[in-house]
């Protein structure tokens, strides 16, 4: 297992390298840069200022040199300075990462707390009225894009009821920046993200529980006189969770994509928001850093899924 994980981690290096090269090339292929747009008409010689800024950022050098320079700095842990926010990228990433993690953890927690129990409940009495009604309702929610859910949530909870804020990751005024404040701001985007995918989990759980419930060893467990609850939780539940558990790792990709869209919609200052702002402003160092962090998150997520798979299912061995 250790060699397997090592191999996978080593395999990420060329992948991340290729992604960084491509992102780098793409960024520079587009006409203009971060300094084209900030020119102030009151300046005497705007072009000279632009030149000076470009020179300071090294944008006048040949591309390979720029890439090499960036790579050298990046490997030693220096991600450069933001072109437009005038702060080190690392400083920007800190709070953004925190906010996105808050969002992701909250969303994932809602998914598990809502999704898995509903799936189990459905599987206990399959084809009952509850099963049909809840399955249909979940199917409808699942088919609603999360940005549309977000609009409805904002409409009801932010505008009509005014329970939760619809913008920003932290508030202003007293108590701003506390954990409660953070949670308060994260709830609506997290709920938008969770609602559409918790249906996936409950469907998955239900199908898996039913599959396992049909197996011979479960019948044997009933036959030897175990109580329904005991069979259900000891024999069915544990094995039925195997496919569900692996879904967690793969979810990271969805969470990343969802975070970019929802953070944009909610102006929630997380990684997705930072990335979008950087893209609007052609802020090269920030684009590079956020892109690579997203890629690492997805790659690690896939690895975690595969490893979890082996951990919960002793039949699987990677070698």
């Amino acid at each position: 297992m250790v060699t397997y994980i090592t191999r996978r981690l080593l395999g990420m290096i060329p992948m991340l390298f290729a992604i960084s090269v491509f992102v780098f090339l793409l960024m520079h292929m587009a006409p203009g840069n971060a300094f084209t747009a900030i020119l102030d008409p009151r300046l005497k010689d705007p072009e000279q200022l632009q030149k000076a800024l470009e020179q300071a950022a090294g944008l006048d050098r040949p591309l390979p040199w720029q890439y090499w320079h960036w790579l050298q700095q990046f490997v030693t842990g220096n991600m450069g300075n933001s072109f437009t926010l005038h702060r080190p990228v690392a400083e920007l990433l800190g709070p953004a990462l925190e906010n996105t993690l808050m969002l992701a953890v909250l969303a994932e927690a809602m998914i598990i707390v809502l999704g898995i129990p509903i799936g189990i409940w459905q599987a206990r009495k399959p084809y009952s009225a509850f099963d049909y009604a809840s399955s249909t309702a979940l199917f409808v929610v699942y088919s609603t894009p999360y940005y549309i859910l977000a609009f409805f949530l904002i409409y009801f909870f932010a505008i009509e009821l005014q329970w939760f804020p619809a913008q920003n990751a932290v508030g202003t005024g007293p108590g701003a920046g506390s954990l409660v404040d953070h949670l308060h701001h994260a709830i609506l985007p997290a709920l938008s993200l969770a609602l559409s995918s918790f249906a996936v989990y409950s469907r998955f759980t239900r199908a898996s529980m039913l599959d396992v419930g049909r197996l011979d060893y479960v019948r044997t467990a009933y036959a030897k006189g175990l109580s329904e609850n005991r069979v259900f939780f000891k024999h069915v539940f544990r094995n039925a969770m195997i496919p569900v558990v692996t879904q967690f790792g793969f979810d990271i990709g969805n969470l990343v994509a969802g975070a970019v869209i929802l953070e944009g919609l909610f102006s929630y200052q997380g990684m997705g928001y930072l990335f979008l702002q950087a893209v609007y402003n052609r802020d090269y160092p920030v684009i590079m850093a956020t892109t690579l962090i997203f890629a690492v998150a997805i790659l690690i997520g896939n690895l975690v899924a595969d490893v979890l798979y082996a951990v919960v299912d002793p039949r699987i061995r990677y070698n």
Partner: protein, 323 residues
């Protein structure tokens, strides 16, 4: 024309085992480890052995869907071991295969007529109308009806499907058919029917068979000569009567003793082998059978016995018969 239809010389198939961070090859599964035999025109050679002994792998190498690691396959004097592309495709007309599982070996989405016409189309043997004509003939040859060509595989029973598989193998008028456990998935009454069909076809079309099976009774019924495989190697090869009446190799003896005798011959003592078949990734030194052999001697442990013709037409690899 060569005296032999097929010559297999020192055929080997090793599958690499990899490990570690960089997937270094740390060993091989020696699925087939040096098999040699010759097949005459019109002959049926049975290959028997336990599962995992390499008999199916051998069959698949002969029909060239597995590339041998080493060794040569010579068909009518042509070395076909490394043929590729067009020349391999042309050569394929000569040797065909019948598979074990009649439910898996027919494409469920193709009508039977299309399955049977496909070889003709690929090799540009027949026009559409001729192909249809030929398909009808083929179906009747294997005991089905011409109308069946419009139906789909799921509408047939296992035995009927196996007939379709045989018809497909016959479509190109091959000289050799490799039958890989061709009757093992069928119930006994059906087995007999298919075996009789194969025997009849052999006579009509002057076919040769390599008949791979783990079922001794079936092999005995259909074969002219029988080869016994153990752990990727041939341990004994002889005419049917010779092999079944006078087995030389201790493994063959043990294998035959496991067959319940239909008549009260009472002559054979059941030989119970100790231990399990060793892993083909780490076969024993010397004779592969020595850890379980009741007649094991010193040289068996260190030297691999040579493949020799001990009596006329009776080959074996065993130290008991060296010199």
């Amino acid at each position: 024309m060569s005296e032999f239809l097929l010559e297999v010389v020192d055929l080997k198939k090793y599958f690499p085992i990899t490990a570690g961070v960089f997937r270094r090859t740390i060993g091989h599964v020696k699925a087939v480890d040096g098999v040699s035999f010759k097949l005459r025109h019109g002959e049926t050679l049975g290959l028997v052995g336990e599962s995992g002994c390499g008999k199916s792998t051998t069959g698949r190498m002969i029909v060239r869907i597995l590339q041998p690691t080493q060794g040569r396959i010579v068909f009518e004097g042509h070395d076909i071991t490394n043929l590729r592309g067009r020349r391999l495709r042309d050569m394929r007309r000569q040797f065909q295969m019948v598979f074990q599982d009649p439910f898996a070996s027919l494409n469920p989405k193709m009508a039977v007529g299309d399955i049977l016409a496909e070889p003709l189309v690929i090799h540009r043997i027949a026009s559409r109308r001729e192909a249809d004509q030929r398909v009808c003939e083929l179906l009747e040859t294997v005991g089905l009806r011409a109308e069946d060509r419009l139906r789909y595989p799921h509408e047939f029973s296992g035995g009927q499907r196996q007939r379709i598989g045989i018809a497909r193998a016959l479509a190109l008028n091959p000289k050799l058919i490799v039958a890989d456990e061709a009757v093992s998935a069928l119930d006994v009454s059906m087995q007999a029917q298919i075996l009789n069909l194969l025997t009849e076809l052999k006579r009509t079309f002057r076919l040769s068979y390599i008949f791979i099976s783990h079922n001794l009774a079936v092999v005995r019924h259909i074969s002219d000569r029988v080869g016994v495989m153990y752990l990727g190697q041939l341990v004994e090869l002889a005419g049917k009567a010779d092999l079944f009446n006078n087995p030389l190799h201790p493994y063959t003896e043990a294998l035959l003793s496991a067959v319940p005798a239909p008549k009260r011959e009472g002559r054979r003592q059941r030989i119970i082998l100790q231990g399990d078949v060793p892993s083909p990734s780490n076969p024993p030194q010397g004779c592969p059978f020595h850890p379980r052999c009741p007649k094991v001697m010193d040289p068996c442990r260190s030297q691999r016995p040579s493949w020799r013709e001990v009596r006329a037409g009776h080959w074996t690899a065993c130290h008991l018969y060296e010199q």
